[in-house]
């Protein structure tokens, strides 16, 4: 399952899933362009890394930033083989009736429009050689969640986006799939726990663990294993797929 010498562009690289993915791909000999909204966090992370890696601060919701990150990747590495559209935010926890227009739009701008901006520019850079595109969706992309409508909707939407892109890009030998993590031990889940149960985070977490068949949260490095599989040529017949990594939650 080799990604050796493949050039990988990843958004949201400074988050835990992003970091675990960068670590795994570098360990496997890939070359990585990392992007994130948070430049200082990227810089700190880059300082810990060995391997052929570069970074750029990017706001994925801006089309011109997406163009810049693709240009920077081509300039540095000469090609683009794998695009991991991983940047996303959880938005505010609360009922649909309390959700403001701005707060819904912010989530959709980053989680959906941001992914579309990436696809739009990446396909041009990948067209001649083929490649693999992986979008981070979520367990919340295949079932409803109360009090988390913007995030849930956005994660459903990227599955639609992925399926359209899989059909459109198949003639260019570009594969497009989503990875759908269940609850993970990450900052995002800490924020969600606090949003649902301020002051009672541990009890909330225990309930969520109990409803996950494996009885635990996943680790970011368990998501990066699926990313590696889908990025590699081993997955050459995999496109248009929703790849759950959820401890059995979707059963």
């Amino acid at each position: 399952m080799s990604v050796k010498d493949k050039v990988v562009l990843i958004t949201g690289a400074a988050g835990e899933v992003g970091r675990a993915t960068v670590n795994r791909f570098l360990a496997e000999g890939a070359k990585v362009m990392m992007t994130d909204l948070n430049e200082s966090s990227l810089q700190d992370f880059a300082g810990t890394l060995k391997g052929d890696v570069a970074y750029l601060a990017v706001d994925v919701s801006k089309l011109e930033d997406n163009q810049k990150m693709v240009d920077a990747t081509l300039e540095r590495f000469g090609q683009l083989d794998v695009f991991i559209a991983n940047a996303g935010i959880e938005g505010k926890i609360g009922p649909i009736s309390d959700c403001s227009l701005d707060s819904f739009r912010l989530v959709m701008d980053i989680n959906v429009i941001g992914v579309w901006c990436g696809l739009k520019v990446v396909v041009e850079a990948m067209k001649d050689r083929g490649g693999s595109i992986i979008i981070t969706s979520s367990g919340a992309g295949v079932m409803g969640t109360a009090n988390m409508m913007p995030y849930n909707t956005s994660k459903h939407a990227v599955i639609g986006l992925m399926r359209c892109a899989a059909k459109e890009f198949a003639p260019f030998n570009i594969r497009v799939n989503t990875v759908n993590p269940g609850p993970l031990d990450t900052r995002m889940m800490r924020s969600i726990e606090t949003g649902y149960a301020p002051g009672a985070e541990t009890a909330f977490q225990n309930t969520l663990k109990q409803t996950t068949p494996m009885g635990r949260y996943g680790r970011p490095d368990e998501i990066s294993g699926m990313m590696l599989f889908l990025a590699s040529d081993d997955a050459s017949y995999c496109t248009g797929g929703v790849y759950m990594v959820d401890g059995g939650n979707a059963c």
């Binding site: 399952m1 198949a170 248009g240 990594v245 401890g247 059995g248």
Partner: protein, 245 residues
């Protein structure tokens, strides 16, 4: 590359097609492979082609005693069972539901559903005793979509998906993970004997081609490896974009 050095793998329907491709791949990755098939001659020939420690076991997966004996033989020879790939499957006669026969129903369900259930039951009992192991079932894109004329095959694969998910949840808090691969149409003897117009079949997939057995074996190895440690009850598509449409 995957490393299955020292692991023991049991594969049903291993004499040809997807099963043989899995057997070759696990053998290349260092595993000891028990090939199981209903045809004694075919499974011995298949095992002889592999450059690794193998067992060639003749068993009808729809027969409980033979399934138990196949697991017992692996455990007797190698002391345990790390990975089971329940792959044995047959196609149904292509005809609309109104024209189908009870005999064909029983024939298809006996192998595709009862065979997977019996295999899982015997494997799970062994894996629970040793407190480790992982199971990969061969479902199909036809566990998610229908194919007119293939009602029994489709029904059997929907059922395998349900069986996989139920068992996955039942054993999720043990170290045993249970998942399935859902291939699209792949160039195998089974497919080539069932379908005449392979070009029309290829056009069903967004990639406009059929898959290769190796591409399915890759996914099986991923689910059998520690890379997929948070995966259980997953139906992993390998279908060239068929079910995306």
């Amino acid at each position: 590359m995957f490393d299955f050095n020292g692991k023991t793998v049991l594969i049903t329907g291993a004499a040809a097609g997807l099963g043989f491709s899995c057997a070759e791949s696990f053998a290349k990755a260092g595993a000891r492979v028990a090939l199981v098939d209903i045809s004694a001659e075919a499974v011995q020939q298949a095992a002889a082609q592999l450059d690794s420690e193998t067992l060639a076991i003749t068993a009808d997966v729809s027969c409980a005693d033979q399934v138990q004996a196949m697991v017992d033989q692996v455990v007797g020879a190698w002391g345990g069972l790390d990975i089971a790939v329940n792959n044995a499957g047959i196609s149904s006669t292509l005809e609309p539901v109104a024209e189908t026969s009870a005999a064909d129903f029983d024939r298809v369900m006996a192998v595709n559903l009862k065979g997977v259930w019996l295999s899982m039951r015997a494997e799970l009992n062994q894996m629970l005793r040793q407190n480790r192991g992982t199971i990969v079932n061969m479902a199909s894109a036809l566990s998610q979509r229908v194919f007119p004329g293939a009602s029994f095959y489709v029904s059997s694969k929907f059922a395998v998906a349900g069986l996989t998910r139920t068992a996955a949840v039942e054993y999720a808090e043990t170290p045993i993970r249970i998942n399935a691969v859902c291939p699209g149409n792949v160039t195998t003897p089974l497919l080539e004997s069932t379908i005449e117009d392979l070009d029309a079949l290829a056009s069903l997939h967004a990639m406009k081609r059929l898959g290769t057995p190796q591409e399915v074996a890759n996914a099986v190895m991923f689910l059998a490896s520690d890379l997929s440690s948070f995966n259980t009850g997953t139906l992993l598509p390998v279908d060239g974009g068929w079910t995306a449409q």
